[in-house]
């Protein structure tokens, strides 16, 4: 469903992605990890065209992201994305945050969009907060709203960019629980995260990146138990120590 082929990207003279290739099948959950600055966030932002890249090709459902002729808004409408810092719209209620794109982009009827949004809010266990503003919610609640907002466009795949990194420890679980449920429902997911417990539990594959390169790309059990590269071993020992 998603194919990343020999993608390279530069910021000026600095190469931030170096010939990255991988494919994600329908229903697959892939965790992307690696030290900070390794290019993992940049890579998933390239997948929905939020970041341009200079070399290679990315295909989402057989549509080339980097192609000039591609209707990027149309493509993005089919790929949900969740950010590290939630980025809910502070001037809109929780419900309006979720229905904005369905009404404006998918041109759905307002009532219909709101009924669908309430269903999503029930799914992330926040239906009683529909009329509140983002500032009135905790970080974990905001991130769950952000997930609901991304799901509202009925995406074919979901991208998560460090969804729990900005959260207090006690709120990480509630967000991961929603993501686990989503994975179990068969959603295609690419998740940039350091939550190795989550990776072990739901990921089919783990991609390990370092210095803009994909160093490891293997099935989850293989990654954690099999022989891996020295760079990945060093990274794992650092984050699993505590």
């Amino acid at each position: 469903m998603i194919a990343v082929q020999q993608v390279s990207k530069w910021y000026g003279d600095t190469r931030v992605l170096n010939g990255c290739s991988t494919t994600i099948a329908k229903g697959e959950v892939v965790v992307v990890c690696g030290p900070s600055g390794s290019g993992k966030s940049t890579l998933i932002k390239c997948i929905n065209g939020l970041e341009p890249f200079q070399q290679g090709r990315i295909l989402v459902d057989n549509i080339s992201v980097g192609d000039r002729a591609t209707n990027l808004p149309k493509l993005r409408a089919r790929v949900g994305m969740v950010f590290q810092d939630f980025q809910l719209y502070p001037h809109k209620t929780v419900l309006d945050n979720i229905t904005l794109a369905p009404i404006q982009v998918a041109k759905r009827d307002k009532t219909e969009a709101e009924v669908a949004a309430m269903k999503l809010l029930t799914r992330v266990d926040l239906e009683e907060h529909a009329r509140k503003y983002p500032a009135q919610l905790s970080g974990g609640q905001q991130q769950r709203v952000a997930i609901a907002r991304a799901l509202a466009m009925n995406p074919i795949a979901m991208l998560f960019d460090e969804p729990t990194s900005a959260l207090d420890p006690e709120m990480i679980t509630e967000v991961l629980d929603v993501m686990i449920k989503l994975a179990e429902d068969g959603m295609t997911m690419i998740v940039v995260t350091h939550e190795m417990g989550f990776a072990r539990r739901v990921a089919h594959r783990v991609v390990f990146m370092d210095m803009g390169e994909i160093v490891e790309d293997r099935p989850t059990t293989d990654f954690f138990e099999g022989a891996v590269s020295e760079r990945a071993t060093r990274f794992l020992s650092k984050i699993l120590q505590h």
Partner: protein, 219 residues
């Protein structure tokens, strides 16, 4: 010295007419200035260099010329160029709109740039076009944040409308000056005029303060 304020009472209709002109001019210049300013701000933020330069040039030009000169210009020079008189009211209105637009452009530009980039990315990620992101996500937040500054600028504009005496328009200040000199009641009328300006501007600036606190609470 004995002050006799009956002169103010006797001339209230004239003063009221003047105030009406001041308020109408302020309201129209404000709307026009914000509209044109918003367009200029979008041009200034355009990735197309010549377009951005044009808007920047406009802003810098008008911010470097005294308002009174712009008023003169539209009253005396524009009729010479287009070959027919513009009339003092329209000359003043056009001058104010063009002049205020330069200031509103800068206020709006700062407001738009103050919205975090992540907001744009999040909205784009849901499939919205650049224009939709601007309209539904960036501008509503930007306008809310800049309302206090805009109101402050509106108060300055209201006071600046007293300059229209140079194009023979009778605003509140001009009417007051006429009454004062005609009835030889300079002290009384000017005290009254000062009180009126103070009341209106002070109330408006309290309003700005109230609005500011509201915006900050809801963040």
């Amino acid at each position: 010295m004995k002050l006799d304020f009956s002169v103010v009472w006797n001339n209230l209709p004239i003063l009221f007419d003047g105030m009406q002109l001041s308020l109408v001019l302020t309201a129209l210049a404000l709307s026009g200035g914000i509209l044109l300013g918003a367009i200029l701000a979008v041009l200034r933020l355009s990735p197309l260099r010549p377009v951005a330069w044009f808007a920047a040039g406009y802003v810098n030009t008008f911010r470097s010329i005294p308002l009174i000169l712009v008023l003169f210009w539209f009253y005396f020079l524009v009729p010479l160029i287009i070959g027919r008189p513009v009339g003092p009211f329209y000359a003043a209105l056009i001058a104010f709109v063009l002049f205020e637009a330069a200031y509103y452009c800068e206020i709006i530009r700062a407001g738009i740039q103050g919205i975090p980039r992540g907001q744009r990315a999040a909205a784009l990620a849901t499939g919205m076009t650049q224009a939709q992101v601007m309209r539904h996500v960036v501008l509503p937040q930007a306008f809310r944040n800049m309302t206090p500054v805009m109101l402050t600028q509106a108060i300055i504009l209201f006071q600046d409308t007293s300059l229209v005496y140079v194009v023979t328009l009778y605003d509140f200040m001009t009417s007051a000056a006429i009454v004062a000199q005609r009835d030889l009641a300079i002290v009384e009328v000017y005290i009254f005029a000062a009180c009126v300006y103070f009341c209106i501007c002070f109330t408006a600036s309290r309003l700005v303060g109230w609005f500011k606190s509201r915006v900050e609470v809801s963040r």
